[in-house]
């Protein structure tokens, strides 16, 4: 299509020389289960005197309900605001006194806490002791619960005026009609207002159990110490019955477009469908294809058509968010109101043409080169690695997932990419949301 310019020979030479180094960067991931049934993933690295720990549970948006939307996020938020023998100030002070950081982790599927601390015994032991307490023995103080509810409600009121929030809510609503994936993590004003402390305690007891926990550890710690740490973190956790299987994602009945007025200067445009699961057989071909369509930053087709050729937007992108179930496939851009319909048409055409024809051979090669060649950048810090450990553990990916990643991408063929996109993405059945539309609804 548009990629006809070629680099001068001299430049090609250099890049050819170094291509195919691929990633021999191996990451020895150790994996085991605690006595209480929690999955543990551990990478030992002593280069920096620090430690990252994440403990995640299946307690994200997918475990919320329409009636109590916002419950999962508020429960998580409350854990660090009171635990047996410690009030919120004592928790905050004890963590700060050893220079550690502690914070909630929350997405469509997962909820948990992450800890970053120095690895020296005094600091580490103190930080871990606090983490353990908030995970195992939170107290949900009534007054603090009321206060946090007020703060969430205020934030929701503000957020609900923003075009990006309005677009995102409408998009999810149309994409996942009736399914928990349609819900907003922070909840809705009416549902949050109705939440009670008992709701939170119940949600906590049901979801934060050892058998469902995934403990990810990376840093300056020996294997035996890591083993002891994981036992310590999970041995006092509740044991709950296995969680029910999530309901399937309903199939989109037809093309749907929603236009909502807003006074902002730019229109926010979202286009999409339910996309892929983490363990989807089409994961790799769709991933490689998406790099060409809208994942490859400056080089992608969407960016080229919307930004480079027409100057319609600062950025235009597409992505898959692979989850336990089919997470969203989403195209997005923001543009001056009076050209929103034109930009929308270009985005739709770009998608349709891509699904019909697939990437060119050249685009396909370039995508693989970037993903494979760029693999070391995905794992070049403890922070990035701890997130991968969590994903591998939570979604039960093979322990060799990271090691295998470059080879899996290499193995993808152009025919597989075209085939996967044609089967999985139907341009005639997309959800479209335009907030700040100048067109008639």
């Amino acid at each position: 299509m548009t990629y006809r310019s070629r680099a001068p020979a001299r430049l090609l030479l250099i890049s050819a020389l170094a291509y195919a180094i691929a990633a021999q960067a191996t990451l020895p991931v150790q994996q085991w289960q605690t006595a209480s049934g929690a999955r543990v993933l551990f990478v030992e690295t002593h280069e920096l005197p620090m430690l990252d720990v994440a403990v995640d549970f299946p307690a994200g948006i997918s475990r919320d309900t329409r009636e109590k939307s916002g419950l999962a996020a508020l429960t998580l938020r409350m854990l660090q605001l009171g635990a047996e023998g410690l009030d919120e100030d004592q928790i905050a002070e004890r963590i700060a006194d050893v220079g550690a950081d502690i914070g909630g982790r929350f997405d469509m599927d997962r909820a948990g806490y992450g800890l970053r601390t120095l690895s020296s015994a005094r600091e580490r032991d103190e930080a871990v002791a606090v983490l353990l307490r908030i995970l195992q023995r939170p107290t949900f103080p009534q007054a603090i619960f009321e206060r946090e509810k007020e703060r969430v409600l205020a934030a929701l009121k503000e957020s609900d005026t923003k075009p990006e929030t309005i677009a995102d809510r409408e998009f999810k609503r149309l994409l996942y009609a009736g399914h928990p994936y349609a819900l907003r993590g922070s909840g809705e004003i009416d549902t949050v207002a109705r939440l009670t402390r008992d709701d939170l305690v119940g949600f906590y007891l049901r979801h934060f159990s050892a058998g469902e926990a995934v403990v990810s550890i990376i840093g300056d710690l020996g294997r035996e110490q890591a083993r002891a740490l994981a036992e310590q973190l999970t041995s006092g956790m509740k044991v709950a019955a296995p969680l029910p299987v999530l309901p399937p994602i309903p199939r989109l009945p037809k093309e749907q477009t929603s236009r909502i007025a807003h006074e902002a200067t730019q229109a926010h445009i979202l286009i999409g469908q339910p996309g892929i699961k983490r363990l989807d057989p089409d994961y790799f071909p769709l991933w490689v294809g998406n790099y060409v369509l809208g994942g490859g930053g400056f080089s992608s087709r969407l960016n080229d058509e919307i930004r480079q050729k027409r100057g319609f937007a600062y950025s235009a992108y597409s992505y898959f968010n692979p989850l336990a179930l089919q997470g969203p496939f989403q195209i997005g851009l923001q543009t001056k109101k009076d050209q929103a319909e034109e930009a929308l048409a270009v985005a739709r055409d770009t998608l349709a043409k891509f699904v019909t024809d697939g990437p060119t051979q050249q685009e396909f090669e370039a995508a693989k080169q970037n993903i494979v060649g760029g693999f070391p950048l995905r794992i070049d810090s403890n922070r990035k690695i701890v997130e991968y450990l969590s994903v591998i553990g939570f979604y039960r990916l093979p322990p060799s997932y990271l090691e295998d990643f470059p080879a899996k991408i290499e193995a993808v063929t152009l025919a597989e990419v075209k085939d996967a996109w044609r089967r999985r993405i139907d341009p005639a059945r997309m959800v479209t949301v335009v907030v700040g539309s100048s067109a008639k609804p």
Binding site: S5, R6, A7, P8, L11, I14, S15, A18, Y19, I21, E47, L48, E88, D89, A92, A96, D97, G99, L118, E123, R147, E150, R151, A154, K157, E158, D160, T161, P163, I166, I189, A261, E263, A264, T265, G296, G297, F298, R307, K309, R310, G311, F312, A313, Y314, Q334, K336, A366, Q369, N370, I371, G373, G374, P376, L377, I379, S381, R383, V435, G436
Partner: protein, 456 residues
């Protein structure tokens, strides 16, 4: 584009520091100057087979003049429009095919271009970056299109974001004369009237090896990097740079107040005090005391502002402070807050002023001081985790004229700050004559608010 009004918690204090591990676990950085004046700083970090390469130009929005605000950032965009050898868009495509990522940002103080790659591809980044340091092409057509993109960027970042609008207005009010008064992205009117020649002039004026620093961080050998840099950047001639006039903001003599009406649900209060920044790593003490003060107020959830304003008195739904000691220009100490339901911006201001009064009258406790210092030390170690961040810190320090290898000294100076010094800087600088107060007066949007929100 990077706006410096970011208010990350410890990043703020850690930003006063370079990224050399105090215990010497990682080697320090090496420095070399080419004959043409290009400074090269290499920080070896062998944890991962990756490298970050950055070219920092000592030209940011503070070097702009009236009528062409935003031109530093415009040129940043134009730098991706190609040279004779590397056509439009090809720069990023070549880096991408090599498995890399690339981008750029403009601030008030500098403009920087960066690539992250497998360590074996460093030469590629150098070759491309050296090429566009001198051979950039300027086409009217590309320029016109890119200006549309930049105006969309401005709409996205500022015009549709009430808090960003308030920050922009704040800077324009705090500074009567200093160029920090203009937004990095430029005023919309200036963007509308920007000409290709403005961008070209900017390029010809500031883009030269003797106005740049090359920062490389990662799994490389310093000597090899110096050789490679000589090879690609060495042949570029230096040129005479304009004389930089020292611009000093005239003294403020009384509190300034502004109101901004913008579509929002809640009021927002932003206060800024004019304060010093770090100029002399070894002899200054006030910037270090101000950094510690920032930590006492907002360094963690245990700090005073979240604890007193948000949790205890319920005056605010959020409250914070920020201070960046690393600037070419003058410094500001910010306080901000969103009122709780039923409270006003004026009440938040009163509560924030009460906190300052308390600081001045009672000082800080030994526990607070110890806590902040513990966080500073830990933040220093944590900052080592990201190679990219390490390169950022080196570039930022060097560009403002501070020694990039002064981490240990800065850390030591921070550890030496006393409770008395913290009280002294509060007393001296957090006073009305140095203060500007900006209030967002929310105008409830007429459209778009979805169902569910009953207002009290």
């Amino acid at each position: 584009m990077l706006d410096k009004l970011a208010r990350a918690r410890w990043a703020v204090l850690a930003s006063a520091l370079v990224c050399v591990v105090p215990a010497g676990a990682v080697a320090g950085a090496s420095e070399r100057m080419l004959a043409n004046g290009l400074k090269i700083i290499v920080k070896e970090d062998h944890r991962s087979p990756v490298v970050v390469s950055m070219v920092w130009y000592r030209a940011g929005s503070m070097d702009e003049v009236s009528g062409t605000t935003g031109v530093a950032h415009v040129l940043e965009h134009m730098m991706f429009k190609g040279t004779q050898k590397v056509p439009r868009g090809e720069f990023s495509r070549i880096i991408a095919r090599a498995g890399g990522r690339d981008n750029a940002f403009t601030s008030r103080d500098h403009t920087a271009y960066h690539q992250q790659l497998h360590k074996s591809k460093l030469a590629l980044a150098f070759e491309l970056e050296a090429d566009r340091m001198v051979n950039l092409q300027f086409s009217e057509e590309e320029f016109a299109r890119e200006m549309k993109v930049i105006m969309e960027e401005r709409r996205m970042r500022t015009d549709d974001d009430p808090h960003a609008q308030l920050s922009e207005l704040m800077m324009a009010t705090v500074y009567a004369g200093h160029p920090y008064r203009t937004p990095v992205i430029g005023w919309m009117n200036d963007l509308e009237n920007m000409r290709l020649a403005d961008a070209r002039d900017w390029y010809k004026t500031w883009y030269a090896p003797n106005n740049a620093t090359l920062v490389v961080c990662g799994d490389v050998e310093a000597e090899e990097v110096f050789r490679l840099a000589e090879n690609f950047f060495g042949p570029i001639p230096a040129h005479v740079l304009p004389q930089r006039k020292r611009q000093v903001e005239p003294p403020q003599r009384g509190v300034k107040r502004i109101n901004l009406k913008a579509p929002a649900e809640q009021p927002y209060l932003l206060m800024a005090y004019q304060v010093p920044v770090l100029r002399d790593v070894d002899n200054d003490w006030e910037p270090y005391a101000l950094s510690v003060l920032g930590g006492v107020l907002d360094g963690s959830p245990a700090a005073r502002l979240p604890k007193e304003l948000v949790k205890s008195s319920r005056t605010a739904n959020s409250a914070g402070s920020s201070y960046d000691s690393t600037n070419r220009g003058p410094g500001l100490f910010f306080l901000d807050g969103v009122p709780a339901e039923g409270r006003s911006a004026a009440e938040v201001e009163t509560a924030l002023r009460d906190q300052i009064r308390r600081l001045v009258q009672e000082g800080i406790s030994a526990d607070e001081l110890r806590r902040v210092k513990a966080q500073v030390i830990a933040a220093q170690v944590f900052s080592q985790d990201s190679v990219f961040y390490q390169a950022m810190r080196i570039g930022a320090l060097d560009t403002v004229g501070l020694p990039h290898d002064s981490a240990d000294r800065q850390l030591k100076k921070l550890q030496e700050v006393s409770a008395t010094q913290v009280r002294d800087v509060a007393r001296k600088y957090l006073v009305d004559d140095n203060l500007t107060v900006a209030v967002l007066d929310p105008q409830r949007p007429a459209t778009g608010a979805p169902e569910g929100g009953k207002r009290p």
